[in-house]
Every structure is written in C-alpha cells, then in structure tokens.
C-alpha cells in the first residue's frame, strides 16, 4: 500500500517518472506491474531497487520477470521456488558488466523457468503436427522412438476403451486419435478420477500416463542437461524458448525461426537499445511498436529527421523495456474490454489502477455501462484524497482497447476525465464530497449519481426535482436530506451569475475566489437546513403533508410570488405561534426568496424539503 505521494517525494526524486507520452508512460506502469506480478513488489519497492542497483533490475530482474510472465500467459507454470532462488542468487553475486548480469540471468534462471513451457510446447507440436517430429529428431534423437511407443499404445488404448475415453474426455461422434489437450487432461488427472470407468480403463490409463511421463522425463533431462546453465547451445531452433506476444510480433526474440542463442542476443539488444542496424537510427520504433506509426523504410519522408537513438537514450533509457511492457498496463474487464486509467503522475496512476483491479469483480458485475466511470471516479477520488495530489484531478484519462492484439492495436476510446479546478476544489472538501457521492433515485428503477452529474457539468436541479416527485408520492425509500441540501447549495452558489468562467484569471485571484466558495456553500446549506427544520417544527405532520403537493407544483412552475403567497398564508393561519420560528422563516423567505431573483428556487426547494421531511 502506497503512502501519500508527498511522502514518496521525501524519499528523494523518484527514478521512474512519467514522461508525458502516454504510450511510454503506460509502458512504465506495465513495467511496475510486471515486477509486481512476479516478485510481489509495489511501486515504492521497485523504485527503491532501481535506485540501489539499476543494472540488476533492468538486465536481470526485468528479463527474468518478463519471460516468466510470458510463460505464465501460455498456461505453463513457474514455481515460486525458482523465482525465490533467482532473487537470492542474483543479489549475492558480483557482476562486472550488464552483459554478465543478463547472461547469468538467462543461462541459469530464465532457462530453468522455461523448462515446463518448453516441454509443453514440444509435446504439443509433436502430438498435433505430424511433420514436426522429423524436424526435431536430429536434436531430440530419442523422442521419435518414445512418441512411437506412446502412439502405438494410444491406438490400442482407444480400441479397447473408446467409450470410456469418450466419456472421460467429454467427446461425441467418431474418435480416433488424441489431441494435445486430451493428452494434457490425462496427464493432469489424478488416478482416482479414472475409477468410475472400470478396471481395464484404469490399467490402460495408468500405462498411458507412464508413457507420457517417460516422454516428459526425457525432455526434462535434455533441457536441463543441454540448456540450463550452458553457454553454447545447439544451433537448432528446437531449443528456442517458445514464447510470443499478442501485441508485438516483430521483435526478433519472438521470431520462431531464431535459435536459442540468437533469441537471447536479440533480447539483450532490445533492453540495451541496440536494435537498429544502421547509423543508430531507430528503425524499429515504427510499426513494430504501434500500428499507428508508419514504417520507417516505407515512408522515410514523414519524419523531419530520422529518429536517432541518442535522443531517446538520454531522456528515456530503457525505452524498449517500457514499450515491451505496454500491454501489461491494461487490465481486462468483462463487457468493457481492456482498460487503463492514466494520469500525469506515476504514483497516482499506479495506485488507482491497482485499486480498480481490486474492485474488478464489482465493476464487472454491474449491468450499467456507466459503472466503470462510477467505479473509477470513486477510486480516483479516494486515492487522490489520500495522496493529497489533487492537481492530478485536472489531467485524468481512461484509455480503452478493444483487443491487445497485433493486428488491430485498436483502442476504442480515450476518455478525458479531467475536471476543472473549481470542481476539484469542491470535491476535496469532505462534507461536499461525501454528500455528492450519493446515488439519488429519480425514477422507479433509475438512479443518478450526483457526483457524476456534477463533474459532467450537468445541472443537479432536475435530479432533485424528479427525486422529490418520488418522495411526494412515496415511491422511494430514500430518506436522506443532506445530499439534497448540499446539491442545492452547491448549485445555488455556482449559478452562472457567479463568475468562475475566466480561466485565464490571475491564479492568485482565482484561488481567493475558490477559497471563499466553500464557506459560502456551507453557509447556504446551513440556512436551507434551518429553514427546513423550522418548517417541520412549525407545522404539524398533517398540515405539511396536505400542503406539500400544492407548494411543489408552484415551485415547478417557477412562480416565486405564488409560492411566497401560499407559504405566508400557511404561516399566518397556523395555530402554532412560536415567534422565534416565524421570525426566522420570515427573514429567510424575505432575503433568500423574495429579494433573490436568480437563485430563489434553490432556497425555496430547501425550505420545501421540510414539508416532506426525511432523515437528517
């Protein structure tokens, strides 16, 4: 859990800072997320580790984490122990160069982490692709024999237990041969699962599993003997670590045609920023990174000048590290697609996205398409309040991607969520925020969130009006009055006649104006609250209930003097003659309604709420 960003700044200048370019920034966020996914560190820990030893992080921890994460995406596992061992060892060792860090990481630990992925990949290819076996049999000389043994038994097994196998694998129709995913099911199932299919099936399934583990043991030994901890790996492409990425295809270490050594080398160069061949021009920052960019080779003249590595290296070292991680900034939300919240501060952005992920199931379960907006705002506001970085409020974006897919790279929507300084100031006040942060019922099945309407610059008056209709007709169970009073008071004070529109005003003057605003709103809210209470004290329940519909319809017609007239009649004919109450109401009506041509209706409604009552 992150502390206030002010505190994080006290620690010293953060090493990871947003650049202002959202693709790079989100890459940076993805980088932080990646390290968190694999090592469980939060952003402060990552910042600390970078500060302590930058090269270990970028040439050791990053490649290891990236590979582990890609391996996991392929549904293979990397055990906790492998990760722990790696961390222990890398921090114990002394290295002379970044290349040495990278080589150590790759040769000893990435290869170890990739073991199960490689075995899965080879088994899958061998089972599902007839031709594959002859391609690899040179390097994996015993594999052909093992697979033949497996297939021979498989035929017999299917012949004897076809019906049971079909039931176990949940298959219908003709069934001749196992696919990889069927084999996987046998491999992963415990023996007890076979019991319901009879003795013969159990016997054959056990034997099948045995043959499978024979294949597995062979591959395991081969990988461990020849790859893990070794430098000069055979030239064959068989030993390449089988990973790819949906978002990026063109990076060379994803190339299926590359050997293990070449893959390793390309990955190192990508981290080290040397992935261009001629003249240090960033050829590969074009379409490889983003489909929106043109290809450098095909459209050289679109640049004023070739992009040179040095411009980036000085400003954003490890640019490609971040770009690789771009897709890891996003989180997939059902019904919403890939989404990330972006602001100009890395700490706030990180924290808000983290909290959004925690609320994921809640956000997904809501049917209302606005729920992401609602969920985000709730989280944004909570975080910003805690971190006291309210200036972030003015620069917020929600970025939505349809698919993080190399063909489209299409983002659906970038929603600017920024709000004005005026709104930000109001929302940072605890009372105002708490009271506007309410959903108010406006129709039988419809609710409006005051907060949302407010930041979208919509008037709150229609919501209050519709809500009061429901209350009058007793069609809502909502009883709270304070949110209504706050909404009325905020709007009364922000009425267009108040000049807050001039954004280019002297900031000092604007600040002074804003500082005055909150006390004014609170004062109005207090006045309305008093008037409301006094109405309740002065009139009996019967009188209030009998007169409420009539008074409300007058307010809706915006007929100020009719309202005053009817109210005064009620007061004067009322048996209760508490002079103090009457005097107060008299002053309120005189100053806030009779004399007030612009915003009288807000004050009239405030007082009117007294007629229908509610919970304080």
């Amino acid at each position: 859990m992150i502390k206030a960003s002010n505190e994080t700044r006290l620690v010293g200048e953060p090493v990871l800072q947003f650049t202002g370019n959202w693709i790079i920034d989100l890459g940076m966020l993805g980088f932080v997320n990646l390290l968190e996914e694999i090592y469980g560190w939060d952003i402060l820990e990552t910042q600390k580790r970078i500060k302590e030893n930058e090269e270990i992080v970028y040439y050791g921890l990053f490649p290891f984490a990236y590979m582990c994460s890609e391996i996991k995406r392929k549904d293979s596992t990397v055990s906790k122990k492998i990760i722990e061992d790696f961390l222990n060892e890398i921090y114990k060792r002394k290295f002379r160069s970044k290349k040495e860090i990278f080589d150590f990481t790759w040769e000893n630990h990435i290869t170890k982490a990739a073991t199960s992925r490689w075995k899965d990949y080879i088994t899958e290819r061998v089972v599902d692709d007839k031709k594959f076996i002859s391609k690899v049999s040179k390097s994996l000389e015993k594999l052909k024999e093992l697979i033949r043994e497996l297939e021979d038994f498989e035929k017999e097994f299917i012949r004897k237990n076809r019906d049971e196998i079909k039931r176990f694998l949940d298959k219908k129709g003709r069934f001749q041969k196992f696919k990889y995913k069927d084999i996987k099911k046998f491999r992963d199932a415990p023996i007890e699962k076979f019991k319901e299919y009879g003795e013969e099936f159990i016997k054959n399934a056990k034997k099948f599993k045995k043959l499978l583990s024979k294949v597995d043991r062979y591959l395991d030994k081969k990988w461990k003997d020849e790859i893990v901890g070794n430098k000069d790996i055979s030239e064959s492409t068989v030993f390449r670590i089988p990973i790819d990425n949906k978002y990026y295809k063109n990076f060379l270490f994803f190339q299926p045609g590359y050997t293990h050594e070449k893959q390793k080398e390309e990955f190192y160069h990508a981290i080290d920023f040397k992935i261009e061949k001629e003249d240090h021009i960033l050829n590969r920052i074009d379409k490889t990174i983003n489909k929106f960019l043109a290809s450098y080779r095909k459209a050289v003249n679109i640049y004023y000048a070739p992009l040179k590595t040095k411009f980036f290296i000085n400003n954003i070292p490890y640019l490609f590290v971040y770009l690789f991680c771009f897709d890891r900034a996003f989180e997939y939300y059902r019904n919403i697609d890939y989404l990330v919240f972006y602001s100009n501060d890395i700490f706030t952005t990180y924290e808000i996205n983290k909290r959004l992920r925690l609320r994921k199931s809640k956000i997904e379960s809501e049917e209302d398409p606005n729920s992401i907006f609602r969920g985000t705002w709730q989280t944004v506001i909570d975080t910003i309040i805690e971190m006291e970085s309210w200036w972030v409020l003015e620069n917020l974006y929600l970025i939505k991607y349809a698919k993080l897919d190399e063909n489209t790279q299409r983002f659906i929507d970038v929603e600017y969520m920024g709000i004005s300084r005026l709104q930000a100031t109001l929302l940072l006040d605890d009372d105002i925020r708490r009271n506007l942060n309410q959903r108010v019922q406006v129709d039988e099945n419809e609710y409006r969130w005051l907060f949302e309407e407010f930041i979208k610059n919509k008037s709150l008056m229609p919501i209050i009006m519709n809500h009061l209709v429901l209350r009058l007709n007793q069609k809502t169970k909502q009883r709270k009055v304070q949110p209504l009073l706050y909404a009325l008071a905020v709007e009364a004070e922000l009425f267009p006649a108040h000049d807050f529109t001039n954004l280019f005003e002297d900031p000092m003057l604007l600040k002074a104006k804003l500082d005055e605003l909150i006390p004014k709103i609170k004062e109005s809210r207090k006045k309305m609250g008093m008037a409301m209470t006094n109405i309740q004290k002065l009139f009996s329940k019967d009188i209030r209930e009998n007169n409420a519909p009539h008074l409300f319809s007058i307010i809706r017609r915006q007929s100020k003097y009719s309202f005053v007239n009817s109210l005064l009649r009620l007061i004067i004919s009322n048996p209760e003659k508490d002079k103090k109450l009457i005097k107060h109401l008299n002053d309120y009506v005189f100053h806030e309604i009779v004399q007030n041509d612009e915003t009288w209706i807000y004050y009239a409604l405030g007082l009117f709420i007294g007629f229908i009552g509610g919970k304080q």
Partner: protein
C-alpha cells in the same frame, strides 16, 4: 400608467420592511393585523395594486401622525408609481414587515 424607472435596490426593500414593521407596532391588535395580512395577500396574489394600497393606507391612516408611519408613507411616495414586477416585491416586503411585528 407611465412608470418612471427608479433604481430600487435591496436596501430599499429592507427599509420598507423595517418601516412597515415599526409603523404597525402601534396599529391594531394581532388579529387585526392578521386579517389585514390576509387581505393584502389576496390583493397581491391577483396583482391588484389599487386594492392593496387602499387597504394598506386605510390602516396607516389611523396613525398618520406616528413618526414611523410618516417615514413609510414618504418612502412609498418616492417609489410610486410601481411596475407590476416591482409591485410584487414591494407588496411582499410590506406583508412580511407586518408579519414580523412582535405581538403582545
């Protein structure tokens, strides 16, 4: 009727209300004032200036030597004639002035 545009400010309405209150402190009983308020509310509702002022002046006439009554009369004299919108505001200032008299 021709209306001369007079700049009527919030202060004027405040004064009218205060003068009315002071003037009516010595006029009639509480129930008398209550009846008068009803009458005035009725006239104000239909925007009938003549009725409104004839009821008001009749009431004031009973104490025409009172200092407060004189002040109110002078103020009203200055304001006249009134446009319909100004009339409503003045009328309710007067009504509320009467209503704010502290009873015995």
């Amino acid at each position: 009727m021709k209306f001369v545009k007079k700049p009527i400010s919030a202060k004027d309405y405040d004064e009218i209300k205060i003068y009315t209150k002071k003037a009516f402190e010595n006029i009639g009983s509480e129930s008398y004032r209550q009846r008068l308020v009803y009458k005035l509310l009725n006239s104000a509702k239909v925007n009938n200036q003549n009725d409104f002022f004839s009821s008001l002046l009749r009431a004031l006439n009973s104490r025409k030597n009172d200092e407060h009554v004189k002040r109110l009369s002078r103020k009203l004299e200055w304001l006249f004639p009134l446009s319909p919108s100004n009339f409503e505001k003045i009328a309710y200032s007067i009504i509320m002035g009467i209503m704010s008299v502290r009873g015995e």
